[in-house]
């Protein structure tokens, strides 16, 4: 399995989110979320790739009859962490919502049918597989469960998830043209002195 650095994960996931139609601000939050989850041993890239592989309901897609977009829910949660237990029905890629809670720094727990994930001063953790779609309950906890601390090391990513994200990222690239070549971004070959 290919390994990727956290920088590569953040950059590719940011561009992929933009390529999938997110505004730049949310795309940056998507890249940061994937990076944070991966740094804590959680499947950030796979979760994001799942999000973009199925219909989702949010302002970016304009679609209403699908699971709520995990990124849209994530940024709303980031802006206003709940004081009390928060129930969100039918969210696509809900694990993304853990990322801003890791950044927030407190102890949090997110439950879904058949699994749970959380974070706290002792790292982040997950029980069961990250769901593609689930209804979740999020609540602050007094004592965090012991989890995986942050690590900067490269980590394996699923090739098919990575390929899907790269394909989306490629939508943000601009092909070269005669005009762009003529304008010159850097040295030309007449400058070898």
């Amino acid at each position: 399995m290919t390994t990727r650095t956290l920088s590569e994960i953040a950059a590719t996931c940011t561009k992929a989110a933009r390529g999938a139609g997110c505004p730049w601000g949310i795309a940056q939050e998507a890249g940061t979320a994937a990076r944070l989850l991966e740094a804590h041993g959680l499947p950030g890239t796979t979760t994001l790739a799942h999000l973009f592989s199925a219909p989702r309901s949010c302002a970016c897609t304009g679609q209403a009859d699908a699971a709520a977009c995990g990124l849209a829910q994530m940024v709303a949660l980031s802006d206003a962490p709940p004081d009390q237990a928060l129930r969100i029905d039918t969210v696509a890629a809900p694990l993304l919502m853990l990322a801003p809670l890791i950044l927030e720094g407190g102890s949090w727990r997110m439950d879904w049918e058949g699994g749970a994930a959380g974070c706290g001063p002792d790292g982040a953790w997950i029980m069961g597989e990250a769901p593609k779609v689930a209804s979740v309950t999020i609540k602050r906890q007094q004592d965090g469960q012991k989890g995986t601390g942050s690590s900067w090391h490269s980590r394996p990513v699923l090739p098919e998830a990575w390929a899907a994200l790269q394909s989306l990222a490629a939508r943000t690239y601009v092909p070269e043209t005669d005009a762009s070549r003529a304008s010159g971004a850097g040295p030309d070959d007449s400058n070898s002195d």
């Binding site: 390994t3 990727r4 650095t5 956290l6 920088s7 590569e8 561009k15 505004p23 730049w24 601000g25 949310i26 940056q28 939050e29 940061t32 944070l36 302002a59 970016c60 849209a72 940024v75 709303a76 980031s78 802006d79 206003a80 801003p100 950044l103 927030e104 900067w152 090391h153 490269s154 490629a170 939508r171 943000t172 690239y173 601009v174 092909p175 070269e176 043209t177 005009a179 762009s180 304008s183 010159g184 971004a185 850097g186 040295p187 030309d188 070959d189 400058n191 070898s192 002195d193």
Partner: protein, 552 residues
């Protein structure tokens, strides 16, 4: 102690007039090497008669070890290109964290010469490559092989035997993330690993040119005179790929500028100039005159700036001679005088010169030039929209008058090229691709935010639920509270943008000299010129190499 205002300091024309200072990363690394008692040797030199092979330069100190693995190649002349699309180079490099094994060398040999097309591991801190200055390389090899020393004037004119065309770090192409350096005694700071790599590359290049001369001249060949050797830096060609960095890392830019401005403020606040500091300053002025004499450039933009600088340095000398230091708070007086008399280039040069005699007062600030970019990443949704409006008024008033609907207000767009995945600058009204625009239209985005905010009340969180497209701008505006020097206060998509100013700002913080723009979007520079080599580090005066020696 007041710092210069962001509204003045953060204009691109001033950022693009920056000079190296005591806080520049090259100087910080060499100070750290010496302070930490680091030793450098060359445990492996496997270069053949054709100049092909590899060498290892090992740096050890403070309980750590890093190794530069250098690969020398036989590059056909028709493949020598500084463009990012090049696929072969005269030399390629990796800086490796920790001791090396033969397996590491084999792994690196299979990947490092390929650069972007290869893959390194997270034990590598830096990936780089360099090409010869053909003219100077051939001249130096020719002279040394015949027992002669090369022409000092030609060395001064070119400034380097090889120039790097990329120095990649921080997670690129599989290399270690910057977080790997956190807490490390020498390398925990922005671009320190990259600058250490370049310093070691310079040593390799000088050893390689002497190797080539010895192979060519046999018993007639001589070594390069140490004074001439030291006058050879490492060149660098930098294009648009570097330009968006400052806009994409506002926390880091804020840390760099805050450190420099704090250093300046500390010096300005001094009640008097000691005899030692006067002498040191005077010496730095004299040596700067020599630097300016060496600074060759053809681009009209830089020619006029260097011409102004030469006039400015003469004015500064005259001003000092007429008793500028005999006034109370003389350094403050000097800056006030400069704001009236000198060009922007001259004023920023004076900032650098004023820091020179005051290492004890300012060098500690180099430890504050990093940034935890995640710490302030979350948007404060509880902030009121009134408070957000007030922040825009206080810190982004400069972008509100611009008409972004006018052709010149949005003439350019930044994008990533499909061919090389590198940042590029397009002409919006002439080229396709603006739908893939990168978010460097910060001024336009904040103005659009201000428009949609209107007179609304409520929380930022509620506003963003209805206007998710403004999250990017809201984050920038909120960050301006804690990072007053985080934003370039100019329109980065305007018709009058000079991208080379963005490059100059960053490269000055690296410690580069002799900025030589070849267009409005790429620049040649020199790094580590006059710096001690590893075997000279402890015999040389402390941190005294950034200007040419008074006697040479």
């Amino acid at each position: 102690m007041s710092l210069r205002a962001p509204s003045d300091v953060m204009r691109l024309a001033r950022l693009g007039a920056g000079h190296q200072t005591r806080l520049s990363f090259m100087r910080v690394v060499l100070r750290g090497l010496k302070r930490g008692g680091w030793q450098v040797d060359c445990p492996e030199w496997s270069i053949d008669a054709h100049g092909v092979g590899h060498a290892v330069y090992r740096a050890r100190g403070q309980g750590e070890e890093v190794n530069l693995v250098a690969f020398a190649h036989d590059l056909p002349a028709d493949q020598r290109s500084d463009r990012v699309i090049a696929q072969a180079w005269d030399a390629t490099f990796a800086l490796v964290d920790g001791p090396l094994t033969d397996a590491d060398i084999a792994r690196l040999r299979a990947n490092v010469p390929l650069q972007e097309a290869g893959r390194v591991s997270d034990r590598e801190l830096v990936l780089s490559r360099a090409n010869r200055s053909v003219r100077l390389w051939d001249h130096v090899v020719g002279c040394l092989s015949e027992g002669q020393q090369p022409d000092a004037a030609l060395i001064d004119e070119v400034g380097y035997l090889m120039r790097t065309t990329a120095v990649y770090g921080s997670g690129k192409f599989g290399a270690a993330d910057h977080a790997a350096l956190k807490g490390r005694p020498l390398l925990d700071g922005p671009f320190r690993a990259e600058m250490l790599a370049v310093w070691l590359i310079r040593t390799f290049v000088m050893d390689l040119v002497e190797h080539a001369a010895a192979r060519k001249g046999g018993g007639n060949a001589v070594k390069l005179d140490p004074d001439l050797r030291r006058r050879c830096g490492i060149g660098n060609s930098t294009g648009l790929g570097m330009a968006p960095f400052l806009a994409n890392h506002p926390d880091l830019l804020n840390a760099w500028i805050t450190a420099r401005e704090t250093a300046l403020a500390r010096v300005r606040a001094l009640p008097l100039a000691t005899n030692a500091s006067r002498a040191h300053f005077q010496s730095a002025v004299t040596r700067t005159e020599k630097l300016l004499a060496r600074w060759t450039t053809q681009h009209p933009y830089q020619v006029s700036k260097v011409t102004e600088l030469r006039t400015d340095i003469a004015r500064l000398s005259d001003h000092i001679a007429t008793g500028a230091f005999d006034q109370p708070r003389p350094w403050e007086g000097l800056m006030i005088w400069a704001e009236d008399v000198l060009s922007v280039e001259g004023q920023e040069l004076l900032v650098s010169l004023m820091l020179e005699p005051h290492g004890d007062l300012v060098d500690d600030l180099a430890e504050d030039m990093g940034a935890d970019e995640l710490a302030r990443f979350r948007i404060d949704g509880a902030m009121s929209t009134q408070a957000l409006r007030a922040l825009i008024k206080a810190n982004f008033d400069w972008c509100l008058p611009t008409d972004f609907d006018a052709a010149e207000g949005c003439a350019r767009f930044w994008y990533v090229s499909e061919a090389k995945l590198e940042p590029r600058l397009g002409e919006r009204h002439l080229e396709d691709g603006a739908e893939c625009e990168q978010p460097l239209d910060i001024a336009r985005a904040v103005k659009a935010l201000a428009h949609d905010l209107g007179e609304s009340n409520g929380s930022v969180a509620t506003f963003l639920l209805a206007h998710p497209q403004h999250r990017f701008a809201v984050r920038r505006v909120q960050l301006s509270q804690s990072a007053p020097y985080g934003e370039i206060r100019d329109n980065l998509i305007g018709a009058d943008l000079m991208p080379v100013d963005m490059l100059r700002c960053k490269l000055a913080f690296f410690g580069a000299t002799r900025f030589d723009p070849r267009s409005d979007r790429w620049v040649r520079i020199t790094m580590f010129q006059d710096a001690p080599f590893p075997d000279e580090l402890y015999a040389s005066a402390d941190d005294d190499w950034s200007l040419p020696p008074e006697v040479a």
